[in-house]
């Protein structure tokens, strides 16, 4: 029997190696391309290993005195600003809502909750037209406000769902104890529940941030001025003119991915917990 068990274990290892190659090789190739000159990248057969590696693509993108770098850094700042605002506002709105969904039984509670969840189901593209009109009406077209508001609503259902899961795991007796100890309902929430829900808030924040950072469709539609663009749209416009600058594009793509990957690696535990929260109940 142990022979068969080993057989399965070996199959698992082989599978892992294959899937690791499938995942990593494209990313490695991206990195290798990004340190080639444009001439070196456009060869057939390809240079498997860069003969003259160069960081020129990166220095160009990160140099504010260079027009390309200036634009790139501006896009990055825009992305950061929009994502951070989305995250902060999202948490501020989601925390009370999730707490209420977890703690109170009020008429329509279940209905409201599913209304919130269903928001997840609708694709961005079909909401583009009405939201465009709405933003035009609100006078937000061409501002970052339009994006922040939109991302907020896209993130909210998930944030509320995640946070509700965290609040469900905080025993109600803790709040009761606090109220007996002399806290008001709000103090009990602020002093006892909030500190305990920090992991939940972190988890939701990562989600909001990464979602906003990566968003393309609304950013491409709502923004029109060059200096407002966020990264996903920005690098597209940027390289459409020099469609053949693949090493530059790969470098830009890499730099665009760095913040989310770093954020993900640091807060991996919360990210994974957030992903699986709710779907897995023991």
């Amino acid at each position: 029997m142990s022979g068969r068990v080993d057989g399965w274990r070996w199959a698992g290892r082989v599978f892992l190696v294959l899937i690791l190659l499938f995942t990593a090789v494209p990313m490695v190739w991206m990195l290798l391309t990004s340190i080639k000159s444009q001439f070196a990248a456009m060869q057939y057969p390809p240079q498997w290993w860069p003969k003259e590696p160069t960081l020129e693509n990166y220095t160009k993108l990160l140099d504010p005195t260079n027009p390309v770098g200036n634009d790139f850094l501006r896009y990055m700042w825009n992305s950061f600003y929009v994502s951070l605002a989305t995250t902060v506002l999202g948490v501020a709105v989601a925390v009370p809502a999730a707490y209420a969904f977890s703690r109170f039984r009020f008429p329509g509670r279940t209905f409201l909750f599913f209304a919130v969840l269903l928001r997840n189901m609708f694709p961005a593209v079909v909401f583009l037209m009405p939201l465009f009109i709405l933003m035009r009406w609100l006078g937000l077209v061409g501002t970052h406000g339009s994006l922040i508001l939109t991302y907020l609503t896209f993130g909210l259902p998930l944030s509320i769902w995640l946070l509700k899961g965290f609040y469900d795991n905080i025993p109600i007796q803790l709040e009761q104890a606090a109220r007996i100890d002399g806290a008001t309902r709000f103090q009990a929430f602020l002093l006892i529940v909030m500190p305990l829900s920090v992991p939940g808030i972190l988890a939701t924040s990562i989600f909001s941030f990464i979602g906003a950072w990566n968003e393309y469709v609304y950013a491409a539609t709502f923004l029109n001025r060059q200096d407002q663009l966020t990264l996903p749209v920005g690098i597209q416009r940027f390289f459409a003119e020099f469609a053949t600058d693949w090493p530059g594009l790969m470098a830009a793509t890499f730099l665009m991915s760095v913040p989310v990957v770093v954020l993900f690696l640091i807060l991996q535990r919360y990210f994974v917990r957030a992903l699986t929260e709710g779907a897995v109940k023991s």
Partner: protein, 362 residues
């Protein structure tokens, strides 16, 4: 400390009545145990007194003050929860300090009171630990400490010992009792374990299905249960209850089973005659039943079902007329299963209940 009064207190959740019309008064300094089976409304009653849930009807007073609409923080009571409800992200010291901070006491006074409470409960060496680094018994002490640090008008405790292992439970029981005596504290103590109630409380309030069944001293509840529920709930092993036929011949009244009759004493005859129907429930505790190996005058025939030696006494379960009666024997007396025995009931210590209302006949 203060007295606590409940007047016709009601709590409903939609169609569910969790607590229905409960009234009792806990005198200043009294230790009252709220007992009853799981789901009978004990926690709900306690939460109503604490103000954690809004009351649906009736009045609650602490001291002479009506507190129906007061926030928990303004009722000045302390509470110990079943799962301790220690703040997991705070150290023991911070847990103890929290109620004092909420009341805006000066820092040095807080420190002094925390140290004092820790000393009394012997948890000084634990002050810098987090709750999850404590054993169950230590957590229990901290929870108690958090109630102790300020002197509230009353202590509410919701099954505070039920998460401890048996040995620790007995030990804490003694300590709690001692603590009550020293502080002369008003304590309302919820438990589903009638033994805890009997051993610790000045009075016990027996609840079932959201209503108060009996409110009296443990001795009176034990000796004079008002109905069959209380009779079978309080005392271990439970009081044996046997439904029997009432037979009246002239002045003589007897209880009859399958092929036998037990004449009743005049006092018991009077009780039996007040029953609404011809079926009367005979109740007897094991210690009031004598076991004979042959027929006797007034003894009731039965067949031994099981024999359970416990060391101190041996409990014998006997089939009588389709019901089980538990009697006790000295451990050195030998009985075997499936033998015939005769049970002698002590007429002065037996109970009679009306079969229709389940109430005690008096």
């Amino acid at each position: 400390m203060a007295k606590v009064t409940l007047e016709n207190v009601v709590k409903t959740y939609g169609p569910v009545t969790a607590v229905g019309d409960v009234s009792f008064t806990v005198q200043d300094g009294e230790f009252v145990a709220l007992v009853g089976p799981s789901g009978c409304g004990k926690t709900t009653t306690l939460n109503l007194i604490a103000g954690l849930i809004p009351i649906s009807g009736g009045n609650i007073r602490i001291g002479d003050k009506l507190v129906n609409d007061l926030d928990p923080k303004d009722r000045d009571i302390a509470m110990v929860f079943q799962n301790y409800a220690l703040y997991p992200n705070k150290t023991v010291a911070k847990n103890l300090a929290f109620p004092l901070q909420m009341r805006r006491l000066p820092k040095d006074e807080i420190a002094r009171k925390v140290a004092e409470a820790a000393r009394v409960l012997d948890i000084t060496h634990l002050l810098e630990r987090k709750p999850r680094e404590l054993s169950g018994g230590q957590q229990q002490r901290v929870a108690l400490g958090r109630a102790l640090v300020r002197d509230p008008r009353a202590f509410l405790m919701d099954e505070p010992l039920s998460n401890l292992d048996a040995k620790l439970r007995v030990q804490m029981r003694t300590e709690l009792k001692r603590f009550h005596q020293d502080l002369k504290a008003t304590i309302i103590y919820v438990t589903h374990d009638q033994l805890e109630a009997v051993t610790m409380a000045d009075k016990m309030a027996v609840m079932n299905g959201g209503t108060l069944q009996q409110y009296d001293s443990p001795k009176n509840v034990f000796d004079h249960p008002v109905n069959t529920f209380v009779a079978s709930f309080v005392g271990s092993p439970a009081m044996s209850l046997v439904p029997l036929r009432r037979v009246v011949e002239g002045d003589a009244v007897a209880l009859a089973g399958d092929g036998w009759q037990m004449p009743l004493s005049p006092a018991n005859a009077r009780k039996a005659l007040s029953a609404k129907s011809d079926t009367v429930i005979l109740g007897a505790r094991h210690s009031t039943i004598a076991l004979h190996d042959g027929p006797r005058e007034g003894a009731v025939p039965g067949r031994v079902y099981t024999v359970e030696p416990t060391g101190d006494v041996t409990f014998v379960q006997v089939h009588v007329d389709g019901a089980i009666v538990i009697a006790s024997l000295a451990p050195d007396v030998a009985v075997r299963s499936d033998t015939n025995v005769w049970l002698g009931f002590d007429q002065s210590r037996m109970h009679l209940f009306d079969c229709e209302t389940q109430m005690a006949l008096t």
